[in-house]
């Protein structure tokens, strides 16, 4: 179990780093997908079978949609003429390195609480009971957020924009 955990963890981070290292946008998208699938595998290892499979299902769909937009908007989606597409690389490296160092120090410095109780017999059922019972507010907020996003994205993405065909520009 532990070995499998670390294999998946290293694979997740390595493919996450590959996203910004490969030239081809299609490869970058699928490297990101590989990272998500590895985290989905970690969820399965942690006993969250429903959520793990859900991550796999949703991320494959999401990355395919992403690939469509990627090919649509990037200048060179196949990476046939590699060119640098970054700015302030050094600053970004320093900032993210510092953040990682701080987070890692926190991980080992903070005295985490001990494990309380054991997992329920069916974690998926427990999750369903929670979001339809005591945590229903979360589900309602998610639902409204999804509705708002659907409306906003359609308004933003239509050809005429938010003011209509002959509206104020």
């Amino acid at each position: 179990m532990t070995v499998l955990f670390w294999v998946l963890a290293v694979a997740a981070v390595a493919s996450g780093a590959a996203v910004f290292a490969v030239g081809s946008m299609a490869r970058a998208t699928f490297a990101l997908l590989a990272s998500f699938l590895c985290v989905g595998g970690e969820l399965l290892l942690a006993g969250q079978h429903y959520l793990g499979v859900l991550v796999v299902l949703m991320m494959i769909m999401e990355m395919l949609v992403m690939a469509v937009f990627m090919v649509m908007y990037m200048m060179d989606p196949a990476g046939l003429m590699p060119m640098s597409m970054v700015h302030n690389r050094r600053g970004a490296l320093i900032v993210s390195g510092a953040v990682f160092a701080a987070l890692a120090a926190g991980v080992f410095a903070v005295p985490w609480p001990a494990r309380r109780g054991g997992p329920p017999r069916d974690p998926a059922a427990a999750l369903g009971q929670a979001i339809m019972g005591p945590k229903m507010l979360v589900m309602m907020v998610i639902g409204i957020a999804i509705l708002a996003t659907m409306i906003a994205t359609v308004v933003l993405a239509t050809r005429t924009g938010r003011y209509g065909e002959d509206g104020a520009r």
Binding site: M1, T2, F5, A9, A12, V13, G16, A17, V19, F20, A28, L32, S35, E42, L43, A46, Q48, L51, V55, M58, E62, M66, F69, M70, Y73, M74, M85, H87, N88, R89, G91, S96, V99, L103, A104, V107, F108, W112, P113, R115, R116, G117, G118, P119, P120, P123, A126, L127, A130, I131, K135, V138, I146, T149, A152, T153, L156, A157, R159, G161
Partner: protein
């Protein structure tokens, strides 16, 4: 599979995503960085659920919220890129600097 292991994985994913979000010029690539950061949050929430309080469903609910946020972030991001591309034929974050209020 200790809690520290899960959190270390989460920190690494978060930092790699942060590097991408800060350094990439294309908005599409930038959003990939953001997705990686949320991916780290999913890993951390899974770790907390499994290693701290598996009896309560809070960790699982957090994972569910993070997955939804990922989907919404991507939909919204692509809508903005589409609007920007229609107006200016660019998908670069640097060329949209005048959008800051």
């Amino acid at each position: 599979m200790t809690l520290q292991a899960f959190l270390l994985l989460a920190a690494a994913l978060f930092s790699v995503g942060l590097y991408g979000a800060l350094s990439q010029r294309s908005i599409v690539m930038l959003m990939m960085g953001l997705e990686l950061m949320i991916n780290g949050i999913v890993a951390a929430a899974a770790g907390f659920w499994h290693q701290v309080s598996p009896g309560a469903a809070d960790g699982q609910v957090l994972v569910l919220v993070a997955i939804t946020v990922m989907a919404l972030e991507m939909a919204m991001g692509f809508a903005v890129v589409t609007a920007l591309f229609r107006a200016r034929d660019v998908d670069m974050a640097d060329d949209a600097g005048d959008l800051k209020g």
